[in-house]
């Protein structure tokens, strides 16, 4: 029993790490643009499909496939930004969200047309045996996932807190009007933050498909859902909150699966989100934000 609890915690942390990355990407777009991008997951799915397509036809190494995943996701992300968010910059947030839903369908159809089978194999990140630590087992790819997540978060933190671009991004998140008055070019920041969010999402997507060793068109919806859920758990628009929310979601899923079975796993996560929103609507991690 106790051993299982610890094992579940380990498993939960590794899937939570992927959720955390998904949530960070989602939060970057939400925090900076104040827009919900439903096509966030589908763009990641598109990148993973591009890599899978390449692998099916030409057999690529893991590193090459990672590069293709990132390039495909950033490309799809740029397409979404141009079509959904650039035209609605001053306009309706709902219009942008609905437009991003339309592109979700488009990207999904495109993937299905190019690769009509429901499921494709994706090369594994690591094919050896799991590491045994006493009574616990730790999959090496899970360990890699944790490491890459930590490295990505550290790099992102450096970008946001040590660079001129990061200063501008934080200024836009906190006070968009004052940021413009300080001379920060808002559309320019939007485009670049979309690219950064796509990059983070692509890393998450690559880790997820290479550790589950498969891709399906459902990856798009799944990524948007998990990213949004983790973001809401952590508190809208807060980056540390997104990491915390992702880890919390992973832990909740792992433990509830063990206690109640896989059918109840997702239900538990939604139920907890419901309770959290009722009791603490600002999320686990609350930031102060001046009224704008």
């Amino acid at each position: 029993m106790f051993v299982d609890l610890i094992q579940n915690t380990l498993d939960g942390l590794t899937s939570g790490a992927a959720y955390a990355l998904l949530a960070v990407g989602f939060t970057l777009i939400f925090g900076v643009l104040r827009r919900v991008n439903l096509s966030y997951g589908p763009a990641i799915m598109f990148g993973c499909y591009a890599a899978t397509w390449f692998h099916v036809h030409f057999q690529g190494g893991l590193l090459l496939l990672a590069v293709i995943t990132i390039a495909g996701t950033v490309l799809a992300g740029a397409y979404v930004e141009r079509l959904c968010f650039a035209p609605h910059r001053d306009g309706s947030a709902i219009a942008a969200m609905v437009a991003s839903f339309a592109l979700w369908m488009q990207l999904e159809e495109l993937a299905i047309l190019a690769m009509p089978k429901h499921l494709y194999a994706f090369p594994a990140l690591y094919e050896g045996r799991p590491l045994a630590l006493g009574p616990f087992s730790l999959r090496v790819e899970a360990l890699l996932m944790l490491l890459v997540t930590v490295a990505t978060c550290v790099a992102l933190h450096r970008l946001l807190y040590r660079s001129r671009f990061g200063l501008a991004v934080r200024a836009v998140i906190e006070q968009p009007v004052a940021a413009q008055l300080a001379g920060i070019d808002l559309p320019g920041i939007f485009v670049r933050i979309f690219a950064v969010a796509s990059l983070v999402g692509a890393i998450a997507g690559y880790l997820i498909v290479s550790s589950s060793e498969q891709v399906t068109p459902m990856l798009g919806m799944w990524s948007t859902l998990k990213g949004m859920l983790a973001m809401m758990l952590g508190g809208l628009g807060s980056l540390p909150g997104a990491v915390l929310g992702g880890l919390a979601l992973g832990l909740i899923e792992a433990h509830s699966q063990w206690f109640f079975g896989p059918q109840v796993r997702d239900l538990t996560a939604y139920l907890l989100l419901f309770i959290l929103l009722a009791l603490r609507p600002s999320g686990l991690w609350t930031t102060t934000r001046s009224a704008s």
């Binding site: 200063l167 200024a171 009007v177 004052a178 940021a179 300080a182 001379g183 070019d185 102060t288 001046s290």
Partner: protein
């Protein structure tokens, strides 16, 4: 003196409602020019239009002879116009020093920016004590100083100030106006929106009255009895 800022027939609307119905005015190089008027007259709208946050429907705004009406805010900052916005709008979760660096975003002369940060901390000693603190923890007066300092970090030729005394204690208000006079002496032209007509008239070289989106009076501080100015600045002239 020549006009540094020339506003001609500016119309700015929120949807169908015109907040500015053809405003024309001038700010002379090296002067302090003040815009007075009651709430809702269009003062903030004019400031936001000049800074590029709001786009005018018609009219022209020339700065140093260049047309800036409808230009992007960052382009206007680059030309040398900075706005200290109403309610200060500091970046609350960023430190005082980070706020100052954000103000210098369009510049890329790193050593000079660092020197300017030091200059601001010397000019505004209250900020020096709180240099590493989050701007959200500052008092209203300190935030106002920070907002002014942040705008100065872009080295503007024209400083627009929207209600810098709003909600501040009388001693702080006096300090703000002392700073305004100092800045002018250092060569910065100032265009000031104020509710505190009495204080504004003590520093202004020229003032305009704006009521319901139109300039209704223009003159120098002695040209209209102060109580008449104050009455119209707060209440607007009675029109029935």
């Amino acid at each position: 003196m020549s006009a540094l800022l020339e506003v001609r027939d500016i119309v700015t609307a929120y949807g169908k409602i015109e907040a500015l119905k053809g405003v024309s005015l001038e700010v002379q190089q090296g002067s302090i020019t003040c815009l007075l008027g009651p709430n809702g007259a269009g003062k903030t709208t004019l400031m936001m239009t000049t800074a590029g946050i709001l786009k005018p429907k018609a009219g022209s705004i020339r700065f140093s002879g260049d047309e800036i009406a409808g230009a992007a805010p960052h382009a206007i900052v680059t030309k040398g116009v900075a706005l200290v916005p109403e309610n200060r709008l500091v970046f609350p979760n960023m430190t005082v020093v980070e706020n100052l660096h954000a103000g210098a975003y369009r510049r890329n002369d790193q050593p000079e920016i660092a020197a300017d940060v030091d200059r601001m901390l010397t000019r505004f000693p209250v900020l020096k004590q709180r240099a590493a603190q989050g701007a959200g923890t500052l008092s209203g007066g300190e935030q106002q100083m920070l907002s002014v300092a942040r705008a100065l970090m872009s080295r503007p030729k024209l400083l627009l100030m929207d209600e810098p005394s709003l909600g501040l204690a009388p001693l702080i208000v006096e300090e703000i106006f002392r700073i305004i006079a100092e800045l002018r002496k250092d060569g910065t032209t100032i265009f000031l929106v104020e509710q505190n007509a009495h204080m504004a008239l003590t520093v202004a070289h020229h003032f305009y009255l704006i009521e319901q989106g139109k300039v209704t009076f223009s003159g120098t501080p002695g040209s209209l009895a102060e109580d008449e100015v104050i009455k119209r600045a707060y209440l607007g002239s009675a029109k029935t």
